[in-house]
């Protein structure tokens, strides 16, 4: 049996990688993938705690998260395609038209 803290540690690691990916990568696609990574790290944490407490609630929550993530991917990728068509680039730093 793998100890719980390793799962949690992996989850934290994945989440940190995701955060750094969002903050540091310029490509919108990579930012998108980092967000997915964070969602999945959260899923992993939920499943781990569900196992720890022998409770089903958190596992059900994971299904919701997966569903919403799938919907989000559909919308997000569509946006990404539209951005790429207009600008021939997915560089997120170039998208500053909302500058105040």
């Amino acid at each position: 049996m793998v100890p719980t803290f390793l799962y949690i540690g992996l989850s934290a690691l994945l989440f940190t990688i995701g955060v750094l990916g969002v903050l540091l990568r310029r490509s919108a696609l990579m930012v998108f993938m980092s967000i997915e990574l964070m969602l999945n790290s959260a899923n992993l944490a939920l499943v781990t705690f569900a196992n720890e407490w022998q409770s089903i609630d958190a596992q059900i929550m994971v299904f919701f998260v997966i569903t919403i993530a799938a919907a989000e991917v559909a919308v997000g990728l569509a946006l990404l395609v539209m951005i790429f068509r207009r600008r021939q680039s997915t560089n997120i730093d170039a998208m500053t038209t909302l500058k105040g």
Binding site: L23, V31, I92, D93, M95, T96, T97, L98, K99, G100
Partner: protein, 655 residues
Amino acid sequence: MSQISWLIALIPALPLVGFLVNAFLVRNERANGIIASASVLAAFAVTVAAVANLAMLEEDARRISVTLWEWIAVGKLNISIGLLFDPLTAVMTLLVTGVGALIHIFSISYMHHDTRPARYFAYLNLFVFSMLMLVMADNLLLLFLGWEGVGLCSFLLIGHWFERKNVAPGIVPSEAATKAFVVNRIGDAGLLLAMLLLVSRFGTLSFYGIDGVSGYLSQIAEGSFTFVNMGIFGSVAVISAVAMLMLLGVVGKSAQFPLFVWLPDAMAGPTPVSALIHAATMVTAGVYLIVRNHGIFDLAPDATWWVVTLGSLTALIGASAAVTQFDIKRVLAYSTISQLGFMIVAVGIGAYTAAIFHLLTHGLFKALLFLGSGAIIHGLHDVQDMRRMGGLRKSMPTVYRVYIIGALALAGIFPFAGFWSKDEIIAYAWYFNQNHTTAIMLIFSSLLTAFYMGRQVALTFEGESRDTDLHAHEHLGSMKWPLYLLAFGAIVGGILNIPGIHWLHDWLHPVLHEEVELFTWQMGIFAGITTILAAGSGYLGYWLYSRVLPDQIKSGEEDPAHYYLGDIWKGLELGWGIDYAYNRLIVKPYRHLAEFLHTVVDRQAIDGILVEGSARVMGRLAGFGAQGQNGNVRTYALVFLIGVVIVIGYVVIGA
């Protein structure tokens, strides 16, 4: 209301109707003049009837109050629109309506072909109405209403020719009107404060009281008055404070030193206006005010000291300034200032009857002189400079004759009206008041008076015409009879109060309670000496300017006397430089202050720092905040993260 009450109420109502009709209905020059004159003439007739009724009453009953309606009722303070008719009001009303009617009639011809006759006659009627309210009011507030009303009419009529930018001698009518109004406001503030003080101390503004409530004069007579804290002046008796504040009002309205500067400029108005408002009636309102409130001034010797001082200074300044003028109306304007000084001295030394006597005779002969000068100005087509006149004796014989009568009356030559009234004041000052300094100042002023009248007559009527472009003609029309009647008044006016007969004295006794002065033979000699001196001084002026100096009088040049006296003469000509002093001490510093407030306080402090400065600060702050809104998604994400860390950190650690 009884019969006499109706008569009294009718007196001010008639000019008011005349004003309304002329102002709103009639637009025909001839009809305007006739309506205006008829309304004032009718008011005069009604006044005569009312005075006859009054004279039939017992002496103690000669005070009729007519309360028309309640005006202001606040708490205990109850002010009514009420008319008072007593011997003092009676003589003032006779003067206002009588001389007023003559001047209205005179105006019909004088203002012929004017561009705004309806306006002129309407304002003239409004003036008579306001003046009647002033002298007939039974309380100080209604008097103040009339006081302001005559001030307003004075303003409107000085500025009658507001479109002219320069009337002789270089005055702008609209500016002269404003000047008169503004200077008078200073005095009016004093009168207003006096009223407030009276209300706060006596709870009433009624002179003698009505319906069982005693008026403030009655309360003062009973000796109930206290002290009031006047700040830097320390604790002052209420009576003295009221008297000083009233004096301020008098100094403004009656053109006394140092506020007389508006009166010479007021000559920018039409000449009949100068005769009616700025010689015979309005400017004497201050004298009336003091005589009406003599109960206050009797008990305030410190205030009467100021009254006498200012009055005698004014008499001297006015007379000496009149000597140097070349404008025919300006001579008379300064002369009026000087004569008002005589009246104010008279009320200051307690010679109230003499003051009213001089007020009446002066009203007659000064109106005569002004109307005479108006006839000259009319005949010469608006020429007022005496340097361009000369020789009018031949071309204007009628005006010459009446003008001589007016000049003799003003100079105080026996037996014309001015002799009796002026010498009564001087004699009172010398004998009864023992105030020899004042008496000598007055005698000197009357010598100057005779001198400048001699000078004026010589310059205007004697010799040959100095300006061949002028073609004098004498078309008097309706101007003739007012001149004759006023000349008659100037000859016999003195009979009103001749020593030994003293009709006016007896008539005013119920109001003033003055003892008849006992005139001795020393006073006769005294009056004889002053008259001989005045006659000599008058002849000197006449002789100098008709025999010795006439060749040196040239249009646009200085008086020959300027050669000998230099800047003294110039200073006198400018009215002792009071205008100059005001300009230097008040107008210019005020302008500089306004300029400072405009550029530094308004432009820099308020606009620059407060208005634009606060906007600039907010702009900077917004710019600083907008830097966070850089449109970079990853920056936003970082901010999210920091926020989440702070919130979770707070929840985990703090809780």
